[in-house]
């Protein structure tokens, strides 16, 4: 009889844990929605939240002027913050799992420095990877270089056999190569061009547009289900490569598939907003502390927390001094990193909800 009660006790406690995790997801979604609305309400003209909500639901509720400010100026930035935050966090989460390295994120593989170099090529030499792209040349160059870098890593690890250390080493090599090339471009650039390169690299939501939002949203709606479908395999991978393989997971294939998806996500995010390095680390880390590493909960929560953090950053970037929007890359690093470090230090040992 003791065995019976043990058995049902374990089941009950697991079910309760699952319920708690759904609750955490719901609460985070609520916080994200709230942060999003506050983000839209924040700016040179501060509107009450009720006005914002009404204008979002019915654009003309408070007249043309408010409609234009909210729908044409603030909404693209607020939505971009949410989407790019989610993309960066998903990419970071998946990368940390496939590389078995808690410090991995899109930029560890040198994706960001490659993108910066691509952007600088366009800014300094006016040189474009794809012809006839007009005003999008900087963005597209950044994207193409980020993607080509991922393609190169993919190719190289295929040749060498896919080990985590090999991938990280490739990333470091690529990072230094493109940093050097970027320095070379800066050396050759005029003062005005240097300013543009530096500003591009800082990371800013100011480059938001509805086209970019549509692309980002489409990618997320493909990538999250793609990851969720493989969540049991990804969780098994956290048990170690040998154990996952012995359980029947095709580890090499899983790594390649995930790396392709993550590459496209990372390349897109960095091309859209420049270098925002901190979200890909903080989203997954906070999510891991709250729900552990069952990927069915870890992945969506990472996405939501990444979105939440970037949305909060967007609010802060507009609130520091009225009329000035600071680049988010600076804010995430200045405010986010200390918060992140203190979270890690304070909750290292209470890790499961």
């Amino acid at each position: 009889m003791a065995m019976m009660s043990d058995t049902s006790e374990m089941r009950t406690s697991y079910t309760a844990q699952t319920t708690r995790r759904y609750f955490v997801l719901a609460v985070t979604a609520g916080l994200l929605l709230f942060s999003f609305i506050v983000d839209v309400s924040t700016g040179p003209g501060k509107y009450p939240l009720s006005t914002v909500v009404e204008t979002l639901l019915n654009p003309m509720a408070h007249g043309v002027q408010i409609k234009v400010i909210i729908w044409d100026y603030r909404l693209p930035i607020a939505v971009t913050a949410v989407i790019v935050g989610a993309i960066l966090a998903v990419a970071g989460a998946q990368m940390q799992t496939i590389l078995n390295n808690p410090l991995a994120e899109p930029f560890t593989l040198g994706v960001s420095s490659a993108a910066s170099f691509g952007a600088s090529l366009a800014i300094v030499l006016g040189w474009s990877v794809l012809p006839m792209v007009g005003s999008l040349v900087v963005t597209l160059n950044a994207f193409m270089f980020a993607l080509l870098t991922c393609g190169f890593i993919l190719f190289a690890t295929r040749l060498k056999g896919v080990g985590s250390e090999t991938m990280i080493l490739f990333g470091i090599a690529i990072f230094f190569t493109f940093s050097a090339l970027l320095a070379l471009m800066q050396y050759m650039a005029s003062e005005d061009q240097i300013a543009r390169i530096v500003f591009w690299m800082m990371g800013s939501l100011g480059r938001a547009s509805w086209e970019k939002i549509a692309i980002g949203a489409a990618l997320l709606t493909l990538a999250i289900p793609f990851g969720l479908m493989r969540s049991w395999q990804m969780t098994a991978l956290r048990m170690g490569e040998a154990t996952a393989q012995s359980m029947g997971v095709d580890v090499a294939r899983l790594r390649i598939e995930m790396l392709i998806v993550v590459s496209i996500l990372a390349a897109t995010a960095v091309a859209f907003v420049g270098t925002v390095g901190f979200i890909g680390l903080v989203g997954p880390h906070i999510a891991r502390m709250i729900v552990g590493e069952d990927q069915r909960f870890f992945l969506p929560l990472s996405a939501m927390i990444g979105a939440l953090v970037l949305s909060l950053t967007s609010i802060i970037s507009k609130s520091i001094s009225p009329g000035v929007i600071y680049p988010i890359g600076i804010i995430t690093a200045l405010i986010g990193v200390p918060v992140f470090v203190s979270i890690i230090l304070s909750t290292r040992h209470r890790s499961l909800s």
């Binding site: 058995t7 154990t243 359980m247 095709d250």
Partner: protein
């Protein structure tokens, strides 16, 4: 269903490790001890049986099924292999880690049946008290027992355990082997366990297979195998087999005379 290994050769790259291994049928419920010195090919045999390593020659049959024709997932459903590596830093509870082993071969959704199987397996291996512990907080021995639970929960036809007792104290060595033996006898599961401790092997195994340099040297019951001169030759020790007062076999080993 019996396991039949015929003319199996395998290795890494050009290095051949297993040489034409053929074994008499291993019957359901049989507990086989795989013994032999380090680097004799025990882990390679396990990897080949579980499908992680493609054999160079030979076949592995489970009943009428040629295991070489199964895909990864179906094979993992029939054979559960516990590799030597264990312990990890994943933030998962023991319960979750056993559940995820089960979920590799079942559908995406967690149903009542899954939860029952996990709970029953943990209870059968006396691990119920650890169910909500985080994997990172386990001792080496506890992690090893969880790894064993990860194989049994799948209820496979064959369980391959690579040194399941290496990190365990005496009590837990006996307790894990007797729980595994009890569970697998009940279910009719074939167990092949690589064991370094010949006395444990003698105590728990129905049959011992002695392997040396990738070849099977001897195969039979413990009292037969452990008295063979090949034991001493393979391990490079001098052995004498004694019977303890309680009737179990005891291998008394000393190093060969050092000149």
């Amino acid at each position: 269903m019996s396991l039949k290994i015929t003319d199996l050769s395998a290795g890494y790259g050009r290095t051949q490790v297993l040489h034409n291994v053929t074994a008499d049928a291993i019957k359901p419920g049989q507990f086989v001890g795989l013994i032999g010195p380090n680097a004799s090919g025990k882990s390679t045999l396990f990897k080949t049986l579980s499908g992680l390593l493609r054999p160079m020659t030979g076949t592995i049959h489970l009943g009428d099924t040629d295991l070489g024709t199964l895909n990864r997932r179906d094979r993992a459903r029939r054979i559960a292999y516990m590799p030597q590596a264990f312990g990890c830093n994943a933030i998962l509870t023991v319960y979750e880690s056993v559940l995820l082993a089960l979920k590799q071969t079942t559908g995406w959704r967690v149903d009542e049946n899954n939860l029952d199987r996990v709970s029953q397996t943990l209870t059968a291996l006396n691990l119920a008290h650890l169910a909500n512990r985080s994997l990172g907080n386990l001792s080496g021995g506890q992690a090893q027992m969880v790894a064993v639970a990860q194989t049994l929960v799948r209820n496979p036809d064959i369980v391959l355990l690579d040194e399941p007792t290496s990190a365990l104290d005496l009590h837990h060595q006996l307790s894990i082997l007797s729980s595994v033996r009890h569970e697998t006898k009940r279910r009719g599961t074939i167990v092949i366990a690589a064991l370094h401790d010949l006395n444990l092997a003698a105590q728990f195994c129905d049959r011992l297979i002695l392997i040396r340099e990738g070849r099977i040297v001897a195969d039979g019951t413990a009292d037969k195998i452990l008295t063979l001169p090949e034991i001493g030759q393979t391990y490079r020790v001098e052995t004498a087999l004694e019977q303890t007062r309680r009737g179990s076999l005891y291998v008394d080993a000393t190093l060969e005379c050092v000149h």
